[in-house]
């Protein structure tokens, strides 16, 4: 199966990224992968009781895009965007409290994974009907503009979810109203078991932008610097009143849809091809060439991350499950 063709797009003048920021980007990508691995371990141990969804292969897109946001901006991530949660400032304790359905979690065990909201960080997690979040994200952009917050909303969808009517209805409304919304289609080649070629007939999904009268661009979603630069440009444009941008970020889902899916339908050759483009390893090599990383630094960083995750998991596991007597509490706001 041929991957989506990436047409050469003129990259915007690269925003200056300091060496310290590059290390931060790398750290966030490594942290994301280590968290995902830990979640899978907890799933296999029977500690994660529902589905476990990883973002392996998507780290550059999730991290690079959220890195372009300001604190006052809003994040509407998907289930492959753990990296975006972390970049926006979510703590590991809250990530694992959610995964482990504990009482102290942001949803108090009423929902799992990244389906939480944290207004203090302006993170509003997804529902499983992913595209249904697009009109909601547009509504937040509308409210934010009414209040003159100078903020932008960053929302994500998959190549599968981009076929749902809400994608069209939400993006069209945002385009007509010139709302400060940036929408990223993470085209990771598979929607559950269905390959991209069975999802759409367009040459590339960013072509859809023309139908809304907004800019559209298809980028290599495994290159964190490209993702950051393109998102930064789109976010700046939205902030200045230029309206939405549609970004198709081409990646590969390197795991099954969820931990219960062995993804045997994915051709081995395709996985091999994309393994060579592993976003974490690619960036690691690049920073090595730039003299910013060496094996000792990488090992030290990995050790730090392992310790942080271990602490968060231990903390979360020590918390109780929500009391069953509270199950009916909170359906209505007072």
């Amino acid at each position: 199966m041929a991957a989506t063709k990436m047409l050469a797009v003129p990259l915007p003048p690269s925003p200056s990224v300091t060496n310290a920021q590059k290390i931060e980007l790398y750290y966030c990508m490594r942290l994301t992968r280590a968290c995902d691995d830990a979640i899978l371990r907890l799933y296999k141990q029977g500690q994660v009781v529902g589905g476990a969804y990883t973002g392996r292969g998507n780290e550059a897109t999730a991290v690079g895009s959220a890195f372009a946001l300001e604190d006052r901006d809003y994040l509407f991530p998907m289930h492959r965007d753990l990296g975006a949660h972390l970049v926006k400032g979510q703590t590991l304790r809250h990530i694992f409290l959610q995964q482990l359905a504990r009482d102290g979690s942001l949803t108090r065990g009423r929902d799992g994974t990244g389906h939480y909201a944290d207004p203090s960080l302006r993170i509003y997690g997804n529902v499983s009907h992913l595209a249904a979040m697009i009109p909601v994200a547009a509504g937040v952009a509308l409210a934010s503009r009414m209040r003159k917050e100078d903020a932008v909303v960053l929302n994500y969808i998959g190549e599968g979810g981009s076929n749902v009517g809400d994608f069209h209805e939400g993006l069209n409304m945002a385009a007509v109203m010139k709302l400060p919304l940036v929408l990223i289609i993470e085209n990771n080649q598979f929607a559950y078991s269905t390959p991209a070629r069975k999802q759409y007939a367009a040459a590339k999904l960013s072509d859809r932008a023309a139908g809304y009268g907004i800019p559209g661009v298809t980028i290599d979603g495994t290159d964190v610097m490209t993702v950051y630069a393109v998102c930064r440009t789109a976010i700046d444009r939205a902030r200045k009143g230029g309206g939405p941008t549609l970004i198709e970020s081409v990646t590969m889902r390197m795991h099954g849809h969820s931990a219960s899916d062995d993804a045997s339908y994915v051709p081995a050759a395709l996985l091999q091809e994309w393994s060579r483009k592993d976003p974490v390893h690619t960036f690691e090599r690049q920073l090595g060439k730039e003299g910013l990383l060496d094996p000792d630094k990488i090992a030290a960083l990995q050790e730090k991350i392992a310790g942080e995750i271990e602490e968060a998991i231990a903390f979360a596991l020590a918390q109780p499950l929500p009391p069953p007597g509270d199950a009916a509490e909170g359906v209505y706001a007072p």
Partner: protein
């Protein structure tokens, strides 16, 4: 006091809330420059400007999703469905997003969805539906259905001030047909409270919306022609139901007729009957009766529409059967 139509009372409620709270805004199709398909929002654009009276794209999903998003971050949107029928196109936004947010996120979703509802207007199968029962099954929503101008304004103000998604079913049949006295200035009608419209000790007739008027006519006929006294209860709020008033009415009369314009099967009347069976069975002198529309789409031809929807004659007959039981 002022005499006002049902539709003007709805508009007045929105207008006053927009005057008192800058976070209240309207969004819907044709509501601004055109003033709405029924002219409910005529004059709003001129007074409040296009930032707060938003002519949306033709998309119920976008209207309802955007209202949900705006509400989650602290605005108080009032979203208009041009007809209650068209809420199907945005159903997912109400049940998947708006209704579940507080339970999951502990964040209020202070939004109102206006749904011009029901038949008796020769609108045919796509402009006459009563869709409240679809939402009655959804935890996290509130549903109101005023029958008169006083309640329409008072419930609108309560709905806008409530911190939950409130579906505001307004009856097109009543828009300009029903007038009533409305006090000047601010008042509210509380959510979750029904009202006894007419006292009577022989039968309790529980209803809401358009059929309240047929019920009152039927009760008067029963008194005049049969000497039967019917207590007519206007439920006003459907979710949450006023269980206290329902049960008290069943216990006080021992005979209950439930009437709604919506079709019978799976209608709200079934839940009310079950509630009475569960908690007032020993007070009953007859089986609980229900009267609703026939289980069909609402047809176009006047002869067919009349045959399908409940009317005063049908209610009189049901009351007589119940009285004779």
């Amino acid at each position: 006091m002022a005499t006002m139509t049902y539709i003007d009372a709805i508009a007045r409620g929105m207008w006053e809330e927009m005057e008192r709270d800058a976070s209240v805004f309207l969004i819907g199709e044709d509501i601004g420059a055109y003033g709405g398909a029924f002219k409910t929002t005529k004059g709003f654009l001129e007074r409040f400007g296009e930032d707060r009276v938003i002519d949306s794209t033709l998309s119920e999903a976008a209207i309802l999703g955007a209202a949900t998003g705006a509400a989650v971050v602290g605005m108080r949107p009032v979203a208009e469905m041009q007809f209650a029928d068209f809420v199907t196109c945005g159903f997912n936004q109400i049940v998947t997003n708006a209704a579940k947010i507080h339970y999951r996120w502990h964040l209020p979703v202070p939004m109102v969805v206006r749904l011009p509802s029901g038949g008796y207007i020769h609108g045919g199968p796509y402009h006459s539906a009563s869709t409240e029962a679809w939402f009655f099954h959804v935890p996290g929503l509130k549903i109101v259905a005023p029958s008169n101008p006083y309640d329409a304004k008072g419930l609108m103000k309560s709905a806008i001030r409530d911190n939950n998604p409130v579906l505001f079913f307004e009856f097109k049949y009543l828009y300009r047909r029903i007038k009533g006295e409305i006090p000047d200035g601010d008042y509210t009608v509380p959510l979750g409270k029904g009202e006894v419209k007419r006292e009577g000790g022989d039968i309790a007739l529980l209803t809401y919306g358009s059929t309240v008027h047929f019920a009152l006519e039927a009760a008067e006929i029963l008194r005049r022609e049969d000497g039967i006294e019917t207590r007519v209860v206007d439920l006003r709020t459907l979710l949450p139901l006023d269980a206290g008033l329902i049960l008290e009415s069943a216990r006080a009369t021992g005979k209950v007729l439930i009437v709604h314009e919506a079709n019978l099967t799976g209608g709200i009347g079934g839940e009310i009957a079950a509630l009475i069976a569960d908690r007032a069975f020993q007070h009953l002198d007859a089986p609980v009766r229900r009267l609703g529309a026939l289980d069909t789409p609402v047809p176009y031809a006047p002869s067919l529409e009349e045959a399908v929807l409940p009317n005063t004659t049908g209610i009189v007959q049901a009351l007589r059967e119940l009285a004779a039981y």
